[in-house]
Amino acid sequence: MGNVFVSLLYGFNFYLFGLIAIASALLFVTRKSPVAAALWLVNVMFCLAALYVMLDAQFIGAIQVLVYAGAIMVVFLFVVMLLNLGRGDADSDMRGSVGRIAAGAVGLALLAEVMVLARSRFPEELTLRAAQGLAPVDVTAGVIGPIAGPLFNEYLLAFELTSILLLTAIVGAVLIGKKRVTDAR
């Protein structure tokens, strides 16, 4: 019984956050002000974080809040402010209605194409783990340990590569962003 209740609540929450995410995303793409848009995007990310948790990815949910909403989006906002773009000029920021309708249509087309995958009924087909004789995924696995293990074993190379990536990004950002010293000459 409790299971049923939990399941119902789970479902309710899942759809709730999903709908909020969709609504926030739609608001995000339609807001003219960059600041408002950025905040709606943050909202989407929070919703996603909630969904991650519900999908047994607690660690990911946490860093979603920390890294994405907390760091990346802050940087975005910071730049918006820095460039004084707080009030986007209404006319030119967005395409005209024709462009928007066309974009909507194209978006729907894309969605339709991607949604072809709904035909795949893969949960039945993809019982890979069973096929491979592995145990079903532990529902409590989403905490740090089970992630950290593979991260530093199977995915060690990728993990190390992120350091090079970040280093590159830092060097690049500095290179591009810093004031032109040579201009002074």
């Binding site: 194409e113 991607v114 072809v116 995958l117 709904a118 035909r119 795949s120 893969f122 087909e125 993809l126 890979l128 783990r129 096929a131 074993n153 199977e154 995915y155 060690l156 190379l157 990728a158 590569l161 992120t162 090079i164 990536l165 280093l167 590159t168 990004a169 060097v171 690049g172 950002a173 500095v174 290179l175 591009i176 032109r180 010293v181 040579t182 201009d183």
Partner: protein, 509 residues
């Protein structure tokens, strides 16, 4: 030896050249930051970077001579194909830095870190060339891309440079999202991220018609096509190539493309081979469209960098033939072609770079008018590069054999791509129109009265020109050794079974 890539030590050993390069790059980064910006410092770091690259090259050669291999599964490949591609990438990087040192001086770019970024980019590419795991591919692409985004915008005085950088970045990120989505779906359909495993799972579970897999492959195709600038995902390339500093343009046109293609081939041959009938049509059409669009639009270019940009799009189209051909022979044709193309591209851009006056100007073809009369050798060299790009025998040297090899790969492909080969040669007729336009301007027109004397050419640029010309012409007469090397270093996927060829229906739309 055979590496067990699950062991960190052995993984490191298998990554020796990459690690050497990355480590060196980090050290150089510190060196670069140590002193204030100056031409001399920039030059020092650049030369050191070349040294590092040569050392890496030596390591690669050493590794390749050792002929090591890895276990069936693993995140990276240890095979000849990787070393072959690495060598081409490193060659390109050396060319880039050699050209950049002098070009930076001329354009007043004094950041020594720019060379370090090239090193990081190459490190990313080398990873890409080795990667056998979607995650590693993704990260490799990103390391490469992030570095190149920045390199494109290196000339901070230039609005064109900044614009190019922005366009590349925005569209690149957009395309990366598709690539990533594709990876997610492929992962979803197969539960794997390693190519070999993906290939095995597809075959074992017969996922050939699985929509999720197909959509995933499609989206990945979009991402890869963007990186290699295949039409219609090529729109960024002319603008970006145009705005970027010329050495970086050459880097993007040749080296980035080679790396992306290497990975493209690896994924498609190893992971998606059995879905050949799923993606072959799409790649076939992409190839055709790319050849046509690139060639046709290149005809109307007035700016030589844009012209070469379209030309590089065209070559993407040609290289897509190797993807479609899906055979070991095609992979060797790819490395051969990539080498020839790299040589010719660097040569051509070396000329462009040395012809470009300082400051923010269009590199118009008409500036080359009558070049033969004032710079006979440079004009001749340029003609050689263009003919190499055109794929013309003897005068275009190895470029011809590259094309020959492609045609051979196409016709000999299990799917028998004769029509594609015909389209390839017919569209390359169009390319004669614009390549020869430059030749004609250089040789057949008088020097304009108001034309300024071209700037003197620096020693490094001269060296690049000399090496590329000599290699192109020399390999154009005696390519046999190179053919042998590429053939012994073809890409043989672990999960590739020749028996599959037999079951493959002949394919020609």
């Amino acid at each position: 030896m055979t590496y067990d890539l699950l062991s960190p030590t052995q993984l490191s050993a298998a990554l020796l050249p990459d690690l050497l390069l990355m480590g060196g790059a980090i050290v150089l980064m510190l060196v670069a930051a140590w002193r204030p910006e100056s031409d001399a410092h920039q030059r020092t770091v650049g030369l050191a970077a070349i040294g590092l690259l040569i050392a890496t090259m030596a390591t690669v050669v050493w590794m390749s001579v050792r002929g090591d291999s890895a276990l069936e599964t693993g995140v990276i490949a240890v095979d000849g194909f990787r070393w072959m591609v690495d060598l081409i990438l490193l060659l390109g990087a050396i060319g880039t830095i050699a050209l950049a040192i002098e070009h930076n001086e001329r354009d007043g770019i004094t950041q020594a870190e720019s060379h370090v970024l090239v090193l990081f980019a190459v490190a990313g590419m080398m990873i890409l060339a080795a990667a056998r795991d979607l995650m590693v591919v993704f990260l490799g692409i990103e390391i490469m891309s992030v570095a190149v985004y920045v390199l494109t915008g290196l000339n901070r005085r230039s609005a064109r440079s900044a614009e190019a950088s922005l366009k590349y970045f925005l569209l690149g990120a957009f395309a990366t999202a598709f690539l990533l989505y594709g990876m997610a779906l492929v992962y979803g359909a197969t539960g794997q991220t390693q190519f070999a495993e993906i290939g095995l799972v597809i075959r074992r579970l017969n996922l050939i018609d699985n929509p999720m897999l197909l959509v995933g492959i499609g989206l990945m195709l979009v991402g890869m096509a963007f990186k290699v600038a295949a039409a219609p995902f090529h729109m960024w390339a002319p603008d970006v190539y145009d705005g970027a500093p010329t050495p970086i343009t050459a880097f993007m046109a040749a080296t980035v493309k080679t790396a992306a293609f290497a990975s493209f081939l690896r994924i498609w041959y190893e992971a998606f081979y059995s879905v050949f009938n799923g993606w072959a049509h799409a790649v076939w059409w992409l190839a055709v469209l790319t050849m046509v669009v690139g060639n046709v639009v290149a005809l109307s270019q007035k700016n030589i960098k844009r012209m070469l940009a379209y030309s590089s799009i065209v070559h993407t189209g040609y290289l897509l033939v190797t993807v479609t051909a899906a055979s070991v022979l095609a992979s060797t044709a790819f490395t051969f072609y990539a080498l020839a193309y790299t040589l010719a591209t660097f040569g051509a851009f070396a000329v462009v770079a040395s012809m470009q006056p300082a400051g923010e100007t269009d590199a118009r073809i008409s500036d080359y008018q009558g070049l033969w009369h004032v710079r006979p050798w440079m004009a001749t060299a340029m003609a050689v590069f263009l003919l190499a790009l055109l794929g013309f025998p003897v005068f275009g040297g190895v470029g011809f054999f590259a094309k020959w090899y492609l045609i051979q790969a196409a016709i000999a492909a299990p799917a028998g791509l004769t029509i594609l080969a015909v389209i390839l040669v017919l569209t390359s007729v169009i390319s004669a129109g614009y390549y020869l336009q430059v030749v004609r301007v250089m040789f057949m027109m008088p020097r304009a009265d108001e034309a300024v004397e071209p700037l003197p050419v620096g020693a490094l640029t001269r060296a690049v020109l000399a090496v590329t010309v000599v290699l192109i012409l020399g390999l154009g007469l005696f390519p046999s050794r190179l053919v042998e090397i590429t053939q012994s270093n073809g890409f043989r996927p672990y999960a590739y079974s020749p028996a599959l060829d037999m079951g493959l229906p002949r394919f020609e739309p």
